[in-house]
Amino acid sequence: MWFLHTPLHDTHREAREARMGLFTDLRDSISRAVDRMFSDSEPKRIGIYGPPNAGKTTLANRIARDWTGDAVGPESHIPHETRRARRKENVEIERNGKTVNIDIVDTPGVTTKVDYKEFLEHDMEKDDAVRRSREATEGVAEAMHWLREDVDGVIYVLDSTEDPFTQVNTMLIGIIESQDLPVLIFANKTDLDDSNVQRIANAFPQHETVPLSALEGNNMDEVYGKIAEYFG
């Protein structure tokens, strides 16, 4: 209330108001501290980011199935199958007698371009392809927004058979770093012959790289251990 700051002649009133202001500040800061204490038991919102087709949905489904019994959404070799961010809430992961509670958010692959003609190659009518690409662009915009506002940690999934040194990957990792979010890099598809985990570790030496096959379920013990360690 700006008018309280205009000069008042009643100095007692002024002092009283200043005191009240102090109490209000104190009360606010106590309630913030209490909120924070309770928010420790609130689930952490973990965003699964990465380029299209890296295996984000496969991973999100595996985590959800392993700990809650049901899935997040459809996996597909067609890029942009996940067009809207999907959430699985209250996934409780148990590690070493400790339980971590996370909300997992599966996002569409981040990209700087979407051409509906790419969908036409997957036997789709133009209308359908245009609708899909519109949903995809909305989903990516939403995922970028979430990354700035609404996630507490990031799992960045990469297909380890592909070159990690793309502009989108470096840009996204830079964005995540600038938000000071905890991040784990998952080198997925280690079941494939041309998988190269070291190439990913070399590309992002400042972060921990965890190898896995989300499809085959390989190395999931380490995956859950790291999730508990980083986001617990």
């Binding site: 981040v110 990209t111 700087t112 371009k113 979407v114 051409d115 509906y116 245009v130 690409s133 519109r134 662009t137 909305e138 990516v140 915009a141 970028m144 927004h145 990354l147 700035r148 040194f165 502009q167 470096t170 840009m171 990792i173 830079g174 964005i175 770093e177 600038s178 938000q179 070399n202 590309a203 992002f204 030496p205 400042q206």
Partner: protein, 129 residues
Amino acid sequence: MPEVTPGETGNGVQIDLISGARMEGLTSMEKIRLILDGVRDGNIVVLEEGLSPDEESKLIEVTMTEISPDEFNGIEIETYPQTGGGNKGFLGRLMGKESNKKLTVIGPANQIETLHKDENLISALVSRK
């Protein structure tokens, strides 16, 4: 920036080289508008000093909301030196890691194709509209 109406460029490709000084006084949204207006006119936009990570994130978000079939299908963006990566080239060492002064090339996705990129050189093929 010298103003050239798109019509006057004929079938050439217009390149906008935008200095750090020009960008300095602008808000994030003004920078993004400047870039996207250029790119949507079919120009290649080169930023002397690049964008902050937050601005890059907003650029992706706004680009997504502007994509429309048969008209605009997004951007291609390359930066120099790459931040976040481990193999920083001599430009990276020269400029220091914390700096976001990275040369940034942005163009329409359907007109620009990166042919080669290493820590000292970006080679891109730009096709006419």
